[in-house]
Amino acid sequence: MALSWLLLILLALAVIGYFTGRSRALASAGGDARDLHSLPSYYGYNVALTALVPALGVLIVWLLVQPMIVNSTVSGLIPDQAIPEGSERGLIMSEVRRVANGLNGAIAAGALTEAQAQNANADIDELTTVLKGAGQVLTQDVTQPILIAAQKYRSMTGAGSVAMQVVVLALALLGAAFAYIRTHKEFRARNVVEQGVLALLLLAASIAILTTVGIVLSMLFETMNFFQLHSWKDFFFGSTWAPNFRGGSELSILPLLWGTLYISLIALLVAVPIGLFAAIYLSEYASGATRSLAKPLLEILAGIPTIVYGLFALLTVGPALVSMFGSGGALGLGWMASSNAVLTAGLVMGIMLIPFVSSLSDDIINAVPQSMRDGSLGLGATKSETVRQVVLPAALPGIVGAILLAASRAIGETMIVVMAAGAIAKFSGNPFEAMTTITTRIVSQLTGDTDFASPETLVAFALGLTLFVITLGLNIFALYIVRKYREQYE
């Protein structure tokens, strides 16, 4: 029975529960809804929710936990010597899953009987031919341990899903029955339903926490795996990034961090002055009409997807810079060899961040009380003196917060650097050279064809975790500063 059927049955149960609960409540009050404690529909909702919610909850938990149990059991069945040289347990496990799926597919296609599929002593060559003949995809030759593991995997998964269906349906029926029996005109259905709904609302709100926990855990586990295969000292304090798929890679984050920070710095050098001056002009000088025109226009820049900026950097800005600074370029300098460069990525990222800086700074400058400006203007200061010597110092903490938020954006930005920064990890101060960043390497390490359990792939999780920690730290700090700043003037 497919999952969709199970869900449909649960839904049907809930609908039936609603109507029976409602009519039982009405019947208990002799058909007069005024004698009920709650509105009739609440009795219906009560039955429906009691049937549905626990069953769905168990279903979700079961779906999450079962693969874990099955995997660890089956993985234990594979002896160490069955793992070929240079391979990994994880790879064998995916082969096991593939064989198991193949067996299922072959049975569905009628090429195998259930008994043949469960035969642990089956002739492997014959089985492989049958499976391939049934159109199933196998990457390696099936071996005896893999077959046994696959059969175990099948039987456990099969038994598990049958058990799950039984448990879930039983829970739903029990829940419906329990709520149905409790339905009586004295029963406080509304309060119970509202408690239930409140719990659901709380659950929805907790998804934010679950996401964070998911992010941290998923990266933490793989990062720990990585540090078992690769020295953490080299990762944090080494000086070279040179992944080598034959092993012996040097995987240090420092050159990547340098590239990331350098590009972010250029981006901020572009975005902060332009964004800040734009914000100052919009909030202190511009007339209402100019403001209502220029502000949304600038904010369009923030709504443009990063892929567009990436393409702009790759195909327009990069070649334009080369035609200026490259050899044979307009300036005849020969400084720039390829359009992939720190400068290209930094400039375009800077353009992307202009509206980010300007609208944050605009909010912050507007929060400076008008009385400050009046005080300064009343002393005979010009507007620019007022802005530079009174408004900006007063807004400084908030602006610093805004710049930090922009920096965190720049550090975590992916598409622009993937498309325009280059792939060479090095420490260099030359903005015309290609350099690479943390996000670029995450993408390339995880989209390559390498073995998933190798340090060259796992390093991406360590990079991701580091990136997460850096940006999270910057964000928390920046939000704290901005909040403190706002409280000061509220």
Binding site: S287, S371, M372, D374, G375, L377, L379, G380, A381
Partner: protein, 265 residues
């Protein structure tokens, strides 16, 4: 109200510092000030009184062109400072405001040290040649603001850390530091407690010896206590202008009388 006796000291025949003729102010379509004529004398405290919304603050802000900062505000008519029209095209409001300083309703020290607050005006106007001169100006101004003794040991402390009354006196000192000829005060005591109010009022009386002071207040008692001339505004009109004693004891206009006796307001 026994302060009335003090008003008798008023010296006659003062120079006219500011003369306003036929002043009209519009906020967008609203006619906020209608046809106001007033003459403000040098070395005198002039009080503007009236119910809230009567235009007294608006008119005050016309005197140093602070209304320029509001886009929709238009001013018509003449306002002459020492015989020069301050709304003339040639006049730079920046230079004007150096001569006509302003103190606001709510104390608004800058988020800087006490010293820097006072030094702000002299610095932007270039009044001091060197640090020593600047120190001197700051001390002199703080003394004139009657706050020197309280802050002389902590000039580096932030101005925002002072009490409300101290902050307002700091703002007065700040305004005095640019050596203005006229001081405009927009309800300078409305955010202060009675003790701080008394201190500021005393200070205003001292300032009279050097400056022409114009004070807007909603408190008639305050006007009576500190001013020599009083102007009563009502619904954008200048209803009555004259010697403070005269206005409070023997008003000519029935509206003034109603206000003073508390029937409108």
């Amino acid at each position: 109200m026994n302060d009335m006796t003090r008003l008798e000291r008023t010296v006659d025949s003062k120079e006219i510092k500011i003369a306003a003729n036929n002043v009209q102010v519009y906020y967008g379509d609203t006619h906020a000030i209608k046809d106001v004529d007033v003459e403000i004398e040098d070395k005198t405290v002039t009080a503007f009184i009236g119910p809230s919304g009567c235009g007294k603050s608006t008119f005050l802000r016309c005197l140093n062109r602070m209304n320029d900062t509001i886009d929709i505000c238009r001013v018509q008519g003449d306002i002459l400072l020492d015989g020069e029209d301050i709304y003339d095209k040639r006049v730079d409001p920046v230079q004007l405001r150096a001569k006509v300083g302003m103190v606001f309703q709510k104390p608004n020290p800058f988020p800087k040290s006490i010293y820097d607050n006072v030094a702000y005006g002299p610095r932007i106007h270039g009044l001091a040649k060197n640090k020593a001169e600047l120190d001197e100006i700051v001390e002199k101004s703080l003394r004139r603001g009657a706050i020197w003794d309280e802050v002389k040991d902590r000039l580096d402390a932030p101005g925002t850390g002072l009490s409300g009354g101290q902050q307002q006196r700091l703002c007065i000192a700040r305004a005095v530091a640019t050596e203005p000829e006229v001081l405009l005060m927009d309800e300078p005591c409305s955010a202060l407690d009675p003790i701080a109010t008394a201190q500021v009022e005393e200070l205003i009386d001292e300032l009279r010896s050097r400056y022409s002071v114009v004070i807007v207040t909603h408190s008639m008692q305050q006007a009576a206590r500190v001013s020599q001339k009083t102007a009563f505004f009502h619904l954008g009109n200048l209803v009555e202008f004259g010697e403070t004693g005269q206005i409070f004891t023997n008003p000519e206009d029935p509206r003034t009388e109603s206000y003073i006796t508390g029937r409108i307001g």
